[in-house]
């Protein structure tokens, strides 16, 4: 029997590194920002790590510290600290490094993860949230270390890969937070990704975050109290159908994956900024109810 409710704080403080992953369009960046805010609200020292240099996330973070780690920078730093300082600039500026990255796929992922491991070991942060790669790439990203261990026999790169693999395999040090939307295709994709990660990468899966769940405006909209064909009636029918779809998908997700769920309410229309993120984060101040098993059988409904 899964628990009826879970406290987000339990997950936010379970491991020092949380890698947030999800397909494009599910709101991974928004979820990363809200998780960061929620952790700050619970008194944790939080660092957000971005793998691409994008202003979008920083605008949502407000005063939460963030750090951008690009593969190119991490690789340059790695070469510098491994006795190749003299040639590292030349390797990078000539583009030879691209060829190296192709020759040994995963080298860029390993150096990025190595940098994250360094931050984790520093003890300066209670939670390092990584705005991870899109789900397709998340699998290759997270299995770069075992892959490297299988192909590279010795040297500094192997040591680095072994350290990274050890961090990822230890659930007290790292977890992966998968993000999805409460709709059929995104839920199917998330379940596939979760199984692939369990099979191919030695990582611990934390809670699933379901983004943009339609809640609020009373659970008891009764379209029948408005005249037939009226806008109020059509709008209420639409809202009820969306909610039923969302409830059904969350329940189905709960049946397919034995992972706790954290839900984020839909944020429609208005501009998303740091203040809106702070507001969204307040929902995780409290324990979160888990989906009912019996809703899952309801399935989807006709339009």
């Amino acid at each position: 029997m899964p628990p009826k409710s879970v406290d987000p704080l339990h997950f936010l403080s379970a491991a020092r590194v949380a890698i947030v992953a999800g397909k494009g369009g599910v709101g991974k960046t928004t979820v990363t920002a809200v998780l960061a805010r929620a952790a700050v609200r619970r008194g944790l020292r939080v660092l957000v790590v971005e793998l691409d240099d994008r202003p979008a996330l920083r605008n949502l973070l407000g005063d939460v510290p963030s750090l951008t780690i690009t593969a190119a920078d991490a690789l340059a730093e790695y070469l510098d600290t491994h006795g190749l300082k003299r040639v590292s600039r030349r390797l990078i500026s000539s583009g030879v490094i691209d060829v190296v990255a192709t020759a040994a796929p995963g080298i860029d992922d390993i150096v990025v993860l190595g940098k994250i491991k360094q931050l984790e070991r520093s003890g300066e942060w209670d939670l390092i949230l990584v705005d991870g790669p899109a789900a397709g790439h998340a699998i290759t990203f997270l299995q770069a270390a075992p892959g490297m261990l299988a192909t590279v026999r010795g040297g500094p790169l192997r040591t680095q890969a072994a350290d990274v693999a050890a961090m990822l395999a230890d659930q007290r040090r790292a977890q992966v937070v998968l993000v999805t939307l409460p709709e059929t295709t995104p839920v199917n994709e998330l379940v596939e990704t979760a199984y692939a990660l369990e099979d191919r990468a030695q990582v611990h899966l934390g809670p699933v975050v379901v983004n943009a769940v339609d809640v609020g405006f009373g659970d008891d909209l009764d379209p029948a109290v408005a005249p037939p064909e009226s806008p109020m009636r059509a709008a209420a029918e639409f809202r009820n159908a969306r909610r039923e779809l969302h409830r059904g998908e969350c329940a189905r997700l709960g049946q397919d994956l034995a992972l706790a769920q954290l839900h984020l309410p839909v944020h429609a229309g208005t501009t998303l900024d740091a203040a809106a993120v702070e507001q969204l984060a307040t929902v995780w101040d409290e324990p979160q109810a888990q989906p009912d098993d019996d809703v899952a059988t309801a399935g989807t409904i006709e339009p």
Partner: protein
């Protein structure tokens, strides 16, 4: 006729672009359905490894690298395939190799397998390559492509150039020189810069890379010419671009960035498809009802009306940027009460895109 209907009726290549998760694949499939209804023989190419198109088309066994004809009722035909970039690349190598031995040497090389499977840009290049081949295929009148969900919006257009740049690569040149001078690989690996690389990645890996570049010798011309042809097709009049976006603030930002890049490449977007827009239900009553149950319905409608207005507002700038006709230049597909994941759902999207709305 709307710009989108015109494109579906006349274009030979339709490229659906936009960031991931905005319904590009579903849109591409719905355009294919409409083309088939108009009596054209359409083929839809998807790149998404998550098999979304197979989902959307209700293909039970999934899609493969070869086109499959779908069981729909239409005057024309609807075909679909899912791009397998590695085997498409293998096909190119086989085609341009001077001998079966050369092809075999390349196909069996570990470095080549990495290039074919994971080199960034390979997928985009192979999508463009496949598009070109299908355009020449007599079985089809129109090729509809769902572009890879890359963050860097125009990788797809840049991709044919990427392979050319790869061949212009300093390392490639460095590696090719000694063979032409008749030196041996062993001497080559002793060069200081390669020694440094070898220290980091290991000697075997480096030897594979060297062997690959050397095996590739003589094939650059064919590859380069092919890349030029593909680029020319993408830039020609028979190709149209459809930008797909959702009305959410974060995706509009990315769509705007995308639009700017298309413009700087001198490519015009013919239509903006806005997916998952909040539906409009009609006017809000003048007064909020007093009865709590009706007041709740009023509040719900007010919330949806406000959301729809905010979305319109969010998209104004993008429509201006795209210099699209304010009326016919964009098509809005409302968020449906349920999810689209079968042929019936797809037929509904097609109808929303093309049939005149009752309003």
């Amino acid at each position: 006729m709307t710009a989108l209907a015109d494109s579906v009726a006349t274009a030979e290549v339709l490229v659906c672009c936009g960031t991931g998760g905005v319904g590009k694949t579903t849109t591409a499939a719905a355009l294919g359905l409409e083309a088939a209804r108009r009596g054209r023989r359409a083929v839809v190419v998807t790149i998404d490894p998550a098999k979304r198109l197979a989902d959307a088309l209700g293909v039970p066994g999934g899609l493969g690298n070869d086109p499959v004809r779908l069981p729909i009722e239409a005057d024309g035909e609807l075909w679909a395939l899912m791009l397998d970039s590695a085997s498409t690349f293998d096909g190119l190598v086989t085609r341009y190799a001077s001998s079966p031995q050369q092809a075999e040497r390349i196909l069996g090389n570990a470095f080549y397998r990495n290039v074919a499977g994971s080199f960034s840009g390979t997928q985009d290049y192979m999508a463009a390559e496949r598009l070109h081949a299908l355009h020449l295929d007599d079985r089809f009148d129109v090729v509809i492509v769902d572009t890879p969900p890359t963050r860097n919006a125009l990788d797809f257009l840049d991709a044919p150039g990427v392979i050319a740049r790869f061949l212009d690569h300093p390392l490639f040149k460095l590696l090719m020189l000694p063979t032409r001078r008749g030196l041996r690989v062993l001497n080559l690996a002793a060069q200081p810069i390669l020694r440094s690389i070898g220290k980091v990645v290991g000697g075997d890996v480096l030897a594979d890379a060297i062997a690959f570049f050397q095996a590739f010798d003589g094939m650059e011309t064919g590859f380069r010419r092919r890349a030029d042809d593909v680029l020319a097709l993408l830039r020609s009049d028979v190709t149209r671009f459809v930008l797909v976006a959702s009305p959410r603030g974060d995706t509009i930002e990315e769509a705007a960035f995308f639009a700017a890049r298309l413009r700087s490449a001198n490519l015009a977007v013919t239509t903006l498809v806005v997916n998952r827009a909040t539906p409009t239900f009609g006017e809000l009553p003048a007064q909020r009802p007093r009865r709590p149950d009706r007041a709740a319905l009023y509040d719900n409608l007010a919330d949806l009306v406000a959301a729809a207005a905010a979305e319109r507002h969010n998209l104004t700038g993008l429509l201006e940027d795209l210099a699209l006709d304010p009326v016919g230049g964009s098509v809005w597909v409302p968020l449906l009460p349920t999810d689209v994941h079968d042929l019936d759902g797809l037929a509904m999207i097609r109808s929303l895109l093309f049939d005149p709305s009752p309003v």
